[in-house]
Symmetry: C3
Subunit: 139 residues, 3 copies
């Protein structure tokens, strides 16, 4: 069994943002030399997500609006977590809706994807450095 | 390490539907001859889910109603994604709540499940052909 | 390839509760003797979650409040699932928001975590015995 591990950093200028990281993950698959296996891609931070969906800017706008409705940022005093001095309780909720991680099949040396699947990093408390982990196992 | 891959197709007659696919996944485990490992089951499409829950029709009705409340289909103009000519922005949201994939342990050659766990395909933009991927690795 | 499997039981005195199970999972990783691989941790029950987030009591209070807003327990007659004699339809929904499982990288014999990542069992229909499964594969 082969295994491979790589972290990469992001530092996004806005509180909420979506970044397509498919190319970085594909590069990891290539470097790993795994042809049959699984790739785990996860945020190492608890106010961010990794998820798979469409690379369409209108949709990303809709996600941001919808998540803000499900878990509003303000007023920040509505959350007990923010009594600790944080203002990011809403980000911990948004991240649960969108998920922490994806597991993707690797087949014939490639991410085994349907036609529209793309991997995104979802930031809900940006303006600071954060990491994504790619772990690959297989043969 | 053994690996196994299979796709299967669904074409559901309604926009929203839930289909129990446990038997198909069990058959994949048998075909794979993996006795200890993991099975990844994911939708290859971004407006559908694979998830694990109860095979109870009342619950599925409740899921459909609840998801419609969290992310309403209409009016379709409320979503910027639908400016592209699509009408399925809500389906991209419903899929995030229910999840893209499940990872299931394989132990002693079987899906290692609790008493009520069943695997479902959740469709949120049906009336077209879509695929589910089963990828198994182990020994 | 090595594989490892362990179940452990919980019996929580309240309907909704969050329990940090990171230590138990770490102990499984140690017992497995896997140094490079993946750990799957999942609820074996369909009204409970396993998820990764912060060990902060204010946040857990916020999660409980927020999930109750997204999928209220009462009135129980609003759910068709409860026509079966159950009163836990809401728990099946809360569990979908928070997720069934996590997959965690194992690197150098340890859970490969960011600074704040902790694994939680999320109970949404407690006051009964339930199981969590830890499955580890790797080398």
């Amino acid at each position: 069994m082969k295994s491979f591990r790589k972290e990469f950093w992001l530092n996004l200028p806005t509180r909420v943002a979506f970044v397509n990281i498919t190319r970085q993950v594909q590069e990891c698959v290539r470097e790993s030399a795994v042809t049959e296996g699984m790739a785990l891609v996860n945020s190492m931070h608890i106010t961010a997500s990794v998820f798979i969906n469409d690379d369409e800017s209108g949709l990303h706008h809709d996600y941001a609006t919808w998540l803000e409705k499900l878990a509003p940022h303000a007023p920040i005093q509505q959350y007990r977590h923010n009594d600790t001095g944080e203002d990011n309780a809403d980000a911990h909720m948004k991240r649960q809706v969108m998920g922490r991680e994806v597991v993707v099949a690797i087949s014939a040396g490639k991410l085994d994807f349907g036609p529209w699947e793309q991997i995104f990093y979802g930031e809900f408390d940006g303006r600071r450095k954060k990491r994504v982990l790619v772990k690959i196992i297989g043969e």
